[in-house]
Symmetry: C2
Subunit: 474 residues, 2 copies
C-alpha cells in the first residue's frame, strides 16, 4: 500500500527511525549508568526549553529526536540505572520492552473478546502461569489492571458489593470499616475515599516491633467497632510493606476474617512474586484463603510499567459491581466469552499480557527464581555490611530485597532529631552524586534510609559503590 | 558494561531482536490489510494453543516470536486495518509507536516530579499545546490518565468533593444527583456506582430527535429533584456521543449549571479534538465555562492507546480529594513542583506525554487539522451514498466522522423487528468477510449500523469497498 498524503508517516520513514531507535535503545540498555541516576535538572527547566505552542507545520522525526536527546533525556531519572535503589527498584527487561513495541504497533483495545481475542485469552493464560508459579489455588481468577492502586480499588469495590446490600443501586449508606496496619500502603486510604466510604472508615491497626500487623489489636478493633455500630467490610493484609517489606501474619488474619465473615485482601504487590523462589513458598501462606490478592509484575517481575494483577475467587462480584453493557458494545459469540470490560471501571484496555508472556517465557521459571533469589542475596549482603559496621545501624529485618538503616555518628547517638537531620542530609548528598539513588521512610518516627534491590543491571559492585559513597559522605 | 549471568537479555541480542521487530512492524504498518480486520478465531483457540504452565527454562526470543506470529497474530483484531469502521476507529500513528518504544525502554514511573522531571513537565507542555489547539482558556489545567473512564471518574470525584461537605473524611451521606442524557456513555454509570453515590443517583434526561440532551427536561429534572430532597451534584454534557456523535447544547447547559451551582463536566473524549479544525471551533462553545472536560488523544488524535486528558479549572479540588503523601514519598525540592500522584487515584504513571508530544510535532497543527477534516469529509461522502440510495436510510445527522444507517429492503419496510434482524445479519456477514469491520447501536429502539472513520490508513477506496460489500450482502 502506498501511503496517501493525509495518512501516517511513510512506512519507509518509520522503518528508518525504528532501526535508529533499536540501536539507540540497545546502546542505552547496555550502559544506563552513563547518565546520572537521579535527574539533575531544576524545576521548570524542561518547560522553559520547549515552545509554548505546538508547531504549525509537521516536523521531521530527526528534529523531534534531537530534542528528545537534548531536552528530555536530561530530565529523566533512570529507573534502569544499576544504582537506582530508591522506592522499589524495578526492571523493564529487554523482552518486555520488545513486547511493548509490538503492543504499541498493534494498538489493540481489548475491551471485548472480539476486539482482540488474543489479548483476552493471553491474559487468561499468563495469569494462570503466574498463579501456578506462586502456588495459589485454581479457584483464583485473575485480571490485569494498570496499577496496584486500581487493583486494590477493584478488590475493595467487590468487598463493598458483598458487604453493603444494594450499594450498586443506592450507594453507600451506613458505617463500614476497612482494616489495615499502620504500615499499609497509601493506596488503601485513597481507595476508601474514592469508594465513598470515607477516610474515617479506614482503621489502622498497630504493628509489632517487626512492623507486622498485631492480630490481637485487629480482633480488638473489630469487636470494638461492632459494638459501636460499625460493620467490618474488609481487612487488607500486606506481604511486603512499602517501608520495610514486613509481612503481616496472613494465616492468623485469614482465621479472623473467616470468623468475622470479612473480605480479606492481600496486598502482595511487591513481594508476592518471591513465593516462586524455593524456600519462600510460605510467604503467601494464608493467602490461599484470601478473597483477593494483588501482585505487580511491573514491580519485581521484570515487566515494563504498567501491569498489575488482581486475583480473586469472586470474579462474579466484580462483575456484579461493574458489568453494564450498552447496546453499542453488545456482541454475539457462538459460545460464552469473557469480556474484560465487565470486570473493571476502565472500558479500554491495553494488550498488557503480551509483555508478561514474553518476560515469563524469556527468563523461564528457573531464570525468574534465580534472579529473585539473587536480589535477596544482594540485600542480605548489604545488610551484613550495615550490621558489621559501627557507623550504621539496621532498623528493620530484611525478608526480601530492601534494607532499612541509618548512619549513627558517635557524636549524635541518642539524639533522634539530630540523627534524622544527619541522615536526611546524607541521602541528599548520595543522590546528588548521580551514581546512586536512595529514598527514605520513617520507622517509629525515626528517619530511615531505604535501599531497594530490584534491577537486573545491579550487581554486588554497585552495592559496594553505594556503601562506599555512604561511608565517604556520612 | 558486560551483562552478568543473572541480568537481562544481552544487549546484543536485544539489538538484533529490536531490528527484527523494526522490520516486522514496518512491514505490518505498510500493509495492515493483509490480515482479516476482525479476528476469525473461535473462543478458546488461543488458550488451547498455549501450554498451561510457564516454561521451566528460559526460551530464545526466536521461539517466542515464532509463537507470536503463529498463535497470537490470528487472534488479533486489526485496529490498524483501513477497513476498521467499528466503535470509534483509531490510529496509533507511527511517531506515537516510536515514542512508546522509547517510553517502554526508559520505563520511568512518574509518580513524583523527581522520579522523572521530564515526564511531569512534558505533560504540562503538551497539555498546554493541546488546550490551545482546541481553544480552551488558560485557567484549564490538564492531567493525563489512561482512559476516559478514569478521567470522568476523577472529574466526578472532584465534583463530589465540592458538593458533599466532609465526604473525604466521612463518606457519602445523603441523596445526590448526577445528570446526563440517554445517549451518554456507560462510563458515567460506572463512575457513580464506584463513587458510592449509587446508580439511582444518575438521572438520564431525554434527548431530542437529533439525540441532543433536552435542556428543558434537564431543568425540569433538577427542579423536581430539589423538591424531592435530592441535591444536584453534576451534569455531564457530551460533545460527540458514542452512538451518533451528537452534541448536547453545552452553552444552554452551562447556563443552567451556573444558575444551579452544579459541576459541569463535558465529555468530549472522541469529538473534542475536532475543535481545532477551522469551522469547527463552535463545537466546544460553552465548554469554556465547564468545570472539567475530557479529551482522548488515543481516540481521534493518532496517539497509541492509552492516553486520556482531563482538563479542569479546579485542580485544587482534585488534590483535595486525593492528595495524601506517606513519608516514603515525601520529597524536598528547592521550589514547588507538581507531583502527579497528588491528582489521581493511581500512584504510578507511565510516561504517556512522550507519545502525544511526538504525534503533535510530527503532524503539526496543520497536519492534524487536515487529517481530522479529511475523516469528516469521508464520513460525509459515505452519508451521501446512503442518502442517494433507495436501499438504505440514514438514522442520524453526521456532525463528525460517524455515520448511522440501516438497510431497508422494500419487503421489510414498516416492520422494525424484521429490519432489526435483517441489519444484524447484514453486519455479521460484512464482518465475516474479513475486509470490513462494522459495529452497531440502537436508536429509538431500532438496530442501526455504525460506520466510524478515524484511521489514517483509510481512504475513499476503503469506504467504497464497505459500500459495495453492504450492497452485495444486503
Amino acid at each position: 500500500m502506498t501511503p496517501h498524503a493525509l495518512g501516517d508517516m511513510a512506512p519507509e520513514a518509520f522503518r528508518r527511525e525504528a532501526h535508529r531507535l533499536a540501536d539507540w535503545i540497545a546502546d542505552y540498555l547496555s550502559n544506563p549508568d552513563q547518565y546520572p541516576v537521579l535527574s539533575q535538572v531544576a524545576p521548570g527547566d524542561i518547560v522553559r526549553a520547549l515552545p509554548d505552542e505546538a508547531p504549525l507545520r509537521g516536523e521531521s522525526f530527526d528534529a523531534i529526536f534531537e530534542d528528545f536527546e537534548r531536552v528530555i533525556m536530561p530530565g529523566i531519572t533512570h529507573w534502569n540505572h544499576p544504582g537506582f535503589f530508591a522506592y522499589f527498584s524495578i526492571t523493564g527487561s529487554a523482552p518486555g520492552v520488545l513486547a511493548e513495541f509490538l503492543a504499541a504497533a498493534l494498538n489493540v483495545q481489548a475491551m471485548l473478546w472480539r476486539t482482540s481475542p488474543a489479548a483476552t485469552e493471553l491474559e487468561e493464560v499468563t495469569l494462570a502461569w503466574l498463579r501456578k508459579l506462586v502456588h495459589l489455588p485454581g479457584d483464583f481468577e485473575g485480571v490485569i489492571y494498570d496499577t496496584a492502586s486500581i487493583s486494590t480499588l477493584h478488590a475493595l469495590a467487590a468487598a463493598r458489593e458483598r458487604a453493603i446490600p444494594g450499594v450498586r443501586a443506592h450507594g453507600v449508606n451506613g458505617r463500614y470499616r476497612v482494616y489495615c496496619s499502620d504500615q499499609t500502603h497509601s493506596s488503601i486510604d485513597k481507595s476508601v475515599i474514592l469508594l465513598g466510604l470515607g477516610h474515617d472508615s479506614l482503621r489502622k491497626v498497630s504493628s509489632d516491633a517487626d512492623f507486622r500487623m498485631e492480630v490481637g489489636a485487629l480482633a480488638d478493633a473489630t469487636r470494638e467497632d461492632r459494638a459501636a455500630g460499625w460493620t467490618p467490610l474488609a481487612v487488607v493484609a500486606t506481604v511486603g510493606t512499602t517501608s520495610t517489606t514486613s509481612m503481616d501474619p496472613v494465616p492468623a488474619i485469614a482465621d479472623l476474617c473467616a470468623l468475622e465473615n470479612v473480605w480479606l485482601h492481600v496486598d502482595a504487590a511487591y513481594a508476592g512474586v518471591a513465593a516462586m523462589v524455593p524456600g519462600y513458598e510460605h510467604i503467601l501462606r494464608g493467602a490461599e484463603r484470601a478473597d483477593s490478592i494483588v501482585l505487580n509484575p511491573h514491580k519485581w517481575l521484570f515487566t515494563p510499567f504498567d501491569l498489575s494483577v488482581l486475583y480473586t475467587r469472586h470474579m462474579d462480584l466484580l462483575r456484579a459491581a461493574f458489568s453494564l453493557t450498552p447496546e453499542y458494545l453488545q456482541t454475539t459469540e457462538i459460545s460464552p466469552v469473557r469480556n474484560l470490560m465487565d470486570t473493571g471501571i476502565q472500558l479500554g484496555r491495553r494488550f498488557r499480557s503480551l509483555k508478561l508472556w514474553m518476560v515469563l517465557r524469556h527468563f523461564g521459571a528457573e531464570g525468574l527464581r534465580a534472579r529473585l533469589a539473587e536480589h535477596m542475596r544482594l540485600a542480605r549482603l548489604f545488610a551484613e555490611w550495615v550490621d558489621a559496621s559501627g557507623e550504621f545501624e539496621r532498623l528493620a529485618p530484611v525478608p526480601f530485597s530492601v534494607v532499612c538503616f541509618r548512619s549513627i555518628p558517635p557524636a549524635l547517638r541518642g539524639d533522634d532529631a539530630a540523627l534524622d537531620a544527619h541522615n536526611e542530609k546524607l541521602v541528599e548528598s548520595v543522590n546528588r552524586s548521580g551514581r546512586i539513588f536512595l529514598s527514605h521512610t520513617r520507622l517509629n518516627g525515626r528517619y530511615c534510609i531505604r535501599l531497594a534491590v530490584g534491577n537486573l543491571h545491579t550487581t554486588a559492585q554497585h552495592l559496594a559503590e553505594a556503601w562506599e559513597l555512604l561511608n565517604n559522605l556520612r
